[in-house]
């Protein structure tokens, strides 16, 4: 799981593509709403949250500080949320 984040951290090209960045910006609003709903529910431990916690702990174990671990884990969470909560243009019919 942490390896996947390391790979993602280096996949500069995937973040540099304009279309991908535009789609991500469009999805940011839905992601923040998704996060709000997630935190608001009393037992919102879905797959993405589990991934966040796991990645956070893994980053700490690897020697990152807590702030860095939060950033790495958030990147994993957002990627997961994109998959779990795709925009209307991404749904497979």
């Amino acid at each position: 799981m942490f390896s996947a984040i390391a790979m993602m951290a280096f996949s500069v090209s995937s973040f540099a593509e304009t279309n991908f960045v535009e789609k991500k910006e469009l999805k940011n609003e839905s992601i923040s709403e998704f996060q709000e709903n997630l935190i608001a529910t009393s037992w919102g431990l879905d797959r993405c949250t589990i991934l966040y916690v796991s990645t956070y702990n893994s980053a700490i174990a690897q020697g990152f500080n807590s702030t860095q671990a939060g950033r790495i884990a958030t990147a994993a969470f957002n990627e997961c949320a994109l998959i779990e909560n795709p925009g209307p243009g991404d749904r497979q019919e």
């Binding site: 951290a9 431990l45 807590s66």
Partner: protein, 248 residues
């Protein structure tokens, strides 16, 4: 002798009080790169972070005794490595300093998903044990003096407190007690600072007539830095236990 020197600096400071004290300062971040990185997962990411050396910039807005330190979109970058590099200076979210009250505040980061945005307003300790020396150098045609501070710290994790020294070069000709990140409280603007494995250099100073960029951070609950570190650590421990109990 040292006291006479400090009084001289303060005298220069007072003589400059009538000057404009609305300033925008650009800082650039540099890191010392170790030569013993391996191919483990962490070091692969660190190698990527070190490629951002000299590319991360911040802005410090100063309005008399108020200052606001903010990244130039580094933390909002979609590139994780840029975001991590921006954080190497210990900066996390925009930092508001009230230099007259010796208070430093910032809001909790949304990168810890278990706290809501602006749930906490975190108060950070001010450096109050500067030792000013007579050593000086010219920076940007201004005479700057060296100041050092010991016994500073940050929490790598809740259980790992890292202590560090700071070396700063401040310029009494710019008579504001401001500086980058959490470091200020000297009788002049800090133009260069080094601590841990980083250095911040002021690369541009602009004197302005009006100031519109300073924003006071928000937070529903005020906590100090140590309290916030414990809150985050306890929350992660709690979530980890919940997940592990679900698995069993």
């Amino acid at each position: 002798m040292k006291n006479i020197f400090i009084y001289l600096i303060l005298l220069i400071n007072f003589n400059c009080l009538a000057q404009v004290k609305k300033i925008i300062v650009d800082y650039t971040l540099y890191f010392a790169e170790p030569n013993n990185l391996t191919n483990n997962e962490r070091d692969k990411i660190m190698k990527g972070i070190y490629k951002k050396n000299g590319l991360i910039t911040y802005k410090l807005y100063v309005n008399d005794s108020i200052s606001y330190f903010v990244d130039n979109e580094g933390l909002n970058s979609s590139d994780l490595l840029t975001s991590l590099a921006t954080n190497k200076s210990l900066y996390d979210t925009p930092i508001f300093s009230d230099l007259s009250k010796k208070k430093i505040y910032y809001s909790n980061s949304t990168n810890f998903i278990f706290f809501k945005k602006n749930q906490y307003l975190i108060e950070h300790p001010v450096v109050s044990n500067w030792s000013i020396s007579s050593e000086n150098k010219i920076i940007d045609n201004k005479v700057c003096y060296k100041a050092t501070s010991i016994d500073n710290y940050y929490f790598h994790t809740k259980d790992k407190k890292i202590e560090f020294e700071i070396t700063a070069w401040f310029c009494p000709e710019i008579p504001v007690s401001a500086g980058p990140v959490f470091f200020n409280n000297l009788p002049g603007l800090i133009l260069e600072i080094s601590y841990l494995d980083v250095r911040l250099y002021a690369t541009r100073i602009e004197f302005i007539e009006t100031e519109k960029f300073i924003k006071k951070p928000e937070g529903k609950t005020i906590v100090n830095y140590e309290e916030y570190v414990i809150l985050e650590a306890n929350k992660i421990e709690e979530m980890t236990k919940q997940i592990n109990s679900k698995k069993n």
